[in-house]
C-alpha cells in the first residue's frame, strides 16, 4: 500500500461544488412548483402551525429552499480526509439553491397569471396565485418569495458554517415547535387528562396551531431542557452500559416493566380522539409485525397481505354478528377468535402452498393477485349469501370482557385490547426470531438453494412464515371488525397491503421496534388508508407523501428508521466491510501465523 493514513490526511475535500448547487437549485424550483401545483399550499392553508404567522400550507413550500440548501452543502468526507473549513462561499451556495427554489415559484406565478391551464391542472387557480403573492400584486409577491428563498437558502448553507452544537440546537428547537404543533390533538387530550387545560389554552390557539407565545415557550423549553439534563441522561446511560451483564439485564427488565405499566395507564389519561388514533396505530402495528415475519425474516415479498386481514375480519363478523346473512352462530368474540385464528392459518396454508414455489418478482405478483381474489370473493354475488356482497355484514357486537364491552364507541377499551394483542405479537415475533425456525427463515432469505441443501425444508419453513403472518393479521382483523361494528369489502383494498409494506420498510425491515416506529409515524401522523392521523388535513396528500418518503428512504436509508443490524449490514456491505477493516476486526487470512 502506498497511501498511508498519514499522507491521506493531507488531502482536503475540494471546495464548493457549484455544479451541484445549480442542480439542487433546479431541483428546488421543480419541487416548489410541483408542491404548489399538487395543491398543498391551498389545501393545507387552513391548518396553522403558529397562528397567525405560519400555516402548514406555507410550510409545505418554505422547507424546500432550506432543506435543499442544507443537502446541497453537505460533503462526503472520506476516511483519512480532513473536512475543509467552511466560509462565506458556502452561504452563497446556499443562497443560490434558495433563489432557485423561489425562482420556480415566481415563474409559476407569472405563468398562472398569463395562461389558463386549469383543465389539466386543477390547482392552476387564482386562489393559488393569491396565496403565493400574499394577496398583493405579483411583483410584491415575487419579490417576497425571492427574499424568503434567499434568506432560507443562506440559512440552509449556514448550517454547515455555524458550529455543530449551535446547528443541532437550532434543529431541536425548530423540530420541537413543529412536533408540538402537529401533536396538538394528542397533547391537548393528554394534558386534559391531567387537568392541565390552562397550559393547553396558553400554548394552543383555539382553532388549531400554536399561539405565538406558546411557540416561544416551546422553543425556550427545547433550548433549556437539553442544557439541563443533556449530559445527565448520557451519564446514566453510560453507567447502565458499564454494569455487569446480570445487572444490566435487571435494569432492562425494570425499564420494560415500567414502560409497559405506563402504556397500560396511558389510555385512561387520553381522550376519545387520541385513543382512537392509537387504537388504529395498534391495528397496523399488528399487521406490520405479521408482515415483518413474512417479508423481513423469511424474505417472501407478499403484496397481498391484506387477504389475511380480510379473512380475519370477515370470519369474526360471520361468527359473531346476528346480521350475518348465511350462517350466524353468534359466538362470543373470544371463542370466535380461536376459530378465526385456526381458519386464517388454514387460508394461509392454502394461499401459501401454490405461491411458495415461486420466487422474487413472480411471487410478489401472484400474492398481489391472491390479495385481490380474496377481496373480490367477499364482494361477489356468488358468496353474498354468506358475506353480504357489497352490503357487507353489519351489527357486529363488541367484545364482552366481563367488566365491560370493547366496542368502537369506546376507543379506550379498543386501545387496551389492541395493546394486549400487540404485546402477544411482539412476544411471538421476538421468540420465533431467536429460534430454530427464525434461523431457518433467515437462511432462506440469504440463499434459498443453500438453505435447502443444508437440510432446511424450505417449503415447510416458508409456509410456516406465511401461517404465522396470517395468524397475526387475523388478530388485527378480528379486533377491527369488533371495533368498527360492520365490515365491507372496501376496507380491504390492495392499498392496505401496500401501506402495511411501506410501514415495514420505512420503520425498518426485520426489526420489531422499527415496525412499531413505522406504524406510529405513518399511521399515527399521516393516517392509514381510511383512518385519519394527527395531520388530518394531509389525508388527500397522504399517498404522495408515502411515495416520496418511500423513494427517499430507498435512496438514503434503505434499512429503515430503526434498522435491524443484519439488514443494515446487507444493504451497506461495502461500507461495513471498510469499517471493519479500519477497526482491525476484519479477518485478513493468515495473520496469526505470520506474526
Amino acid at each position: 500500500m502506498t497511501a498511508t493514513s498519514e499522507n491521506l490526511s493531507m488531502v482536503e475535500t475540494p471546495g464548493v461544488a457549484w455544479r451541484k448547487q445549480i442542480r439542487f437549485a433546479l431541483i428546488g424550483a421543480l419541487s416548489s412548483a410541483f408542491i404548489a401545483l399538487a395543491g398543498m399550499p391551498v389545501g393545507l392553508d387552513g391548518r396553522s402551525i403558529i397562528q397567525p404567522v405560519l400555516s402548514m400550507g406555507f410550510l409545505s413550500l418554505l422547507w424546500v429552499p432550506f432543506v435543499l440548501a442544507t443537502i446541497a452543502g453537505s460533503e462526503v468526507v472520506l476516511e483519512g480526509m480532513t473536512a475543509r473549513t467552511r466560509d462565506s462561499k458556502d452561504l452563497l451556495a446556499g443562497g443560490i439553491v434558495g433563489l432557485g427554489s423561489a425562482g420556480g415559484l415566481v415563474l409559476l406565478m407569472v405563468l398562472i397569471q398569463n395562461f389558463n391551464l386549469r383543465d389539466p391542472l386543477v390547482n392552476w387557480s387564482p386562489q393559488l396565485l393569491n396565496l403565493l403573492s400574499f394577496n398583493r400584486s405579483l411583483a410584491v409577491g415575487g419579490l417576497l418569495w425571492v427574499l424568503l428563498g434567499l434568506i432560507l437558502g443562506v440559512f440552509g448553507g449556514a448550517m454547515h458554517v455555524l458550529p455543530k452544537k449551535l446547528c443541532s440546537r437550532i434543529r431541536t428547537v425548530v423540530l420541537s415547535v413543529f412536533a408540538v404543533s402537529v401533536l396538538e390533538t394528542f397533547l391537548t387530550d393528554l394534558l386534559e387528562g391531567f387537568r392541565l387545560e390552562v397550559l393547553t389554552d396558553f400554548v394552543y390557539y383555539k382553532r388549531g396551531g400554536l399561539e405565538v407565545g406558546g411557540a416561544l415557550l416551546v422553543a425556550a423549553l427545547a433550548l433549556l431542557i437539553p442544557l439541563l439534563v443533556g449530559t445527565r441522561i448520557r451519564d446514566v446511560k453510560k453507567q447502565v452500559v458499564d454494569l455487569p451483564a446480570e445487572e444490566r439485564k435487571r435494569v432492562n427488565l425494570i425499564l420494560l416493566a415500567v414502560s409497559a405499566a405506563l402504556l397500560l395507564v396511558l389510555p385512561f389519561f387520553l381522550g376519545k380522539i387520541a385513543n382512537e388514533l392509537l387504537a388504529n396505530v395498534g391495528l397496523f402495528v399488528l399487521l406490520a409485525l405479521g408482515l415483518n415475519v413474512v417479508v423481513g425474516l423469511a424474505g417472501i415479498l407478499d403484496l397481498g397481505y391484506v387477504a389475511f386481514f380480510a379473512v380475519g375480519g370477515y370470519t369474526t363478523a360471520v361468527l359473531t354478528s346476528p346480521n350475518s346473512p348465511g350462517f350466524s352462530p353468534e359466538l362470543p368474540w373470544p371463542i370466535a377468535l380461536i376459530v378465526v385464528v385456526v381458519l386464517t392459518g388454514i387460508v394461509g396454508l392454502f394461499i401459501g402452498a401454490p405461491v411458495i414455489r415461486m420466487r422474487g418478482d413472480y411471487l410478489a405478483i401472484v400474492t398481489l393477485g391472491f390479495g385481490e381474489i380474496i377481496r373480490l370473493l367477499f364482494l361477489s354475488d356468488w358468496l353474498s349469501g354468506w358475506f353480504g356482497g357489497a352490503q357487507g355484514i353489519t351489527n357486529i357486537p363488541g367484545v364482552d370482557v366481563g367488566i365491560g364491552t370493547v366496542k368502537g364507541t369506546d376507543p379506550r377499551s379498543v386501545f387496551l385490547l389492541v395493546l394486549v394483542f400487540c404485546a402477544i405479537a411482539i412476544y411471538v415475533s421476538w421468540r420465533l426470531e431467536n429460534s430454530r425456525l427464525g434461523r431457518a427463515w433467515m437462511a432462506i432469505r440469504e440463499d434459498e438453494d443453500v438453505a435447502e441443501a443444508m437440510g432446511v425444508n424450505t417449503t415447510n419453513t416458508k409456509l410456516m412464515a406465511f401461517v404465522v403472518g396470517a395468524v397475526l393479521a387475523s388478530f388485527s382483523g378480528a379486533i377491527f371488525s369488533a371495533k368498527v361494528g360492520s365490515i365491507f369489502p372496501t376496507s380491504f383494498l390492495m392499498l392496505v397491503s401496500i401501506i402495511i409494506l411501506v410501514v415495514v420498510i420505512v420503520g425498518g425491515m426485520g426489526n420489531i421496534a422499527g415496525v412499531i416506529v413505522g406504524a406510529l409515524v405513518l399511521i399515527g401522523v399521516l393516517g392509514g388508508p381510511k383512518q385519519p392521523g394527527l395531520l388530518q388535513e394531509f389525508s388527500q396528500f397522504k399517498l404522495l407523501i408515502y411515495g416520496a418518503l418511500l423513494v427517499w428512504m430507498m435512496l438514503k436509508r434503505p434499512e429503515g428508521l430503526v434498522p435491524n443490524v443484519r439488514r443494515t449490514r446487507e444493504l451497506h456491505q461495502d461500507e461495513f466491510l471498510q469499517d471493519a477493516w479500519l477497526k482491525g476486526e476484519i479477518d485478513t487470512g493468515d495473520q496469526e501465523e505470520l506474526s
Partner: protein, 268 residues
C-alpha cells in the same frame, strides 16, 4: 456393500449429455477424488447426489436406499452434506449461526417450544450452540473466539471455505461432498487443509468424495481417483495409476499434433 452406489446415471440438459451412463461407488471410510477438465460434469455429479438436479436415468443408492426423488433437504437428512464450488455462506448471519442453522434437520423444536420456552427447547438450543462451537473448533483458532458473533462476510476467502466445511459438518453427515475445497488457497493453506481432510475421516468418521483440481492435494489425500470427461468415467484407480493413464493425459492436455485421429469427436 458400498455406501454410495451409482448405476447408469445420466442427465441431459436439452441436447447436452452432462453425464452419460456413469458408474460410481464409494465404500465407507474412503476418500475419493473426482477430477476432470472443466465442463466434465463434476459439479453436475455432485448436484445430482445432493438432489439439486434430477437425473434422467439411472439410480443413486445411499446405504441401501435410493435417493431418487428426494428433495435436497431430505438427502441432507439421510446423511450427505456438501460444500459449494463458489462459496455460498449465509453472509449476513454470524459464523455461529451459520453452523447452527445447518443442524436444522437434526433438531425438531417448533413454534410451540420457542413460544413457551420449554425445557426441551432450551436444552436443544444449548446443544445446537455447543455442537456448533465444537465443529468450529476443529479448525483451530481460525473460526472461534471473538469471530463467533461476526457476520460470515468478514471472513477471509480461505476461512470462508473452512466455514463452509464446518457448516457441512454441522449437518452430522456420514458422507461429505467437498467441491474444490482448496480452490483459491495458497500452497501452505492447501497443505493444511489436506491434513484436515485426512482428519475429517480419522477423527470424525466421514466418508469423503471431493472434486479437486489441485493435484498435490489429490495425490496426498485420496485412496482412489475417478476421472470424468464429457460426462463419462474415463479412468479410475489409485493416483499413481490414473496419473499415468494416457487417456487422462489426453483429456487434460489434448492429443499431440499429428497423432492418429480415430476418436469420433475429432472427425469433422
Amino acid at each position: 456393500m458400498s455406501m454410495l452406489q451409482i448405476t447408469d446415471l445420466s442427465v441431459t440438459f436439452g441436447g447436452l449429455h452432462a453425464l452419460k451412463d456413469l458408474q460410481f461407488e464409494v465404500d465407507e471410510g474412503e476418500i475419493v477424488s473426482v477430477i476432470g477438465p472443466n465442463g466434465a460434469g463434476k459439479t453436475t455429479f455432485f448436484n445430482m447426489i445432493s438432489g439439486m438436479v434430477t437425473p434422467t436415468a439411472g439410480d443413486i443408492v445411499f446405504e441401501g436406499e435410493s435417493l431418487l426423488g428426494l428433495d435436497p433437504s431430505q438427502v441432507t437428512e439421510r446423511g450427505i452434506a456438501r460444500t459449494f464450488q463458489n462459496v455460498r455462506l449465509f453472509a449476513n448471519m454470524t459464523i455461529l449461526e451459520n453452523v447452527m442453522v445447518a443442524q436444522h434437520c437434526r433438531t425438531d423444536q417448533r413454534v410451540f417450544g420457542a413460544l413457551f420456552q420449554t425445557q426441551a427447547f432450551k436444552a436443544e438450543e444449548d446443544a445446537i450452540r455447543k455442537y456448533g462451537e465444537e465443529v468450529l473448533s476443529f479448525f483451530g483458532s481460525r473460526l472461534v473466539g471473538y469471530r463467533l458473533d461476526q457476520p460470515a462476510s468478514v471472513l477471509s476467502y480461505a476461512n470462508r471455505r473452512r466455514l463452509e466445511i464446518a457448516r457441512a459438518m454441522a449437518t452430522r453427515p456420514r458422507l461429505l461432498l467437498l467441491d474444490e475445497p482448496v480452490a483459491g488457497m495458497n500452497p501452505r493453506e492447501s497443505a493444511e487443509l489436506t491434513e484436515l481432510i485426512g482428519r475429517l475421516r480419522s477423527e470424525w468418521g466421514f466418508t469423503i468424495v471431493m472434486i479437486e483440481h489441485d493435484m498435490s492435494v489429490v495425490r496426498d489425500v485420496s485412496d482412489r481417483v475417478v476421472v470424468l470427461d464429457h460426462g463419462e468415467t474415463i479412468a479410475q484407480g489409485p493416483y499413481s495409476q490414473v496419473a499415468n493413464d494416457p487417456k487422462v493425459i489426453e483429456a487434460y492436455l489434448g492429443r499431440p499434433v499429428g497423432s492418429e485421429q480415430t476418436d469420433e469427436e475429432v472427425r469433422p
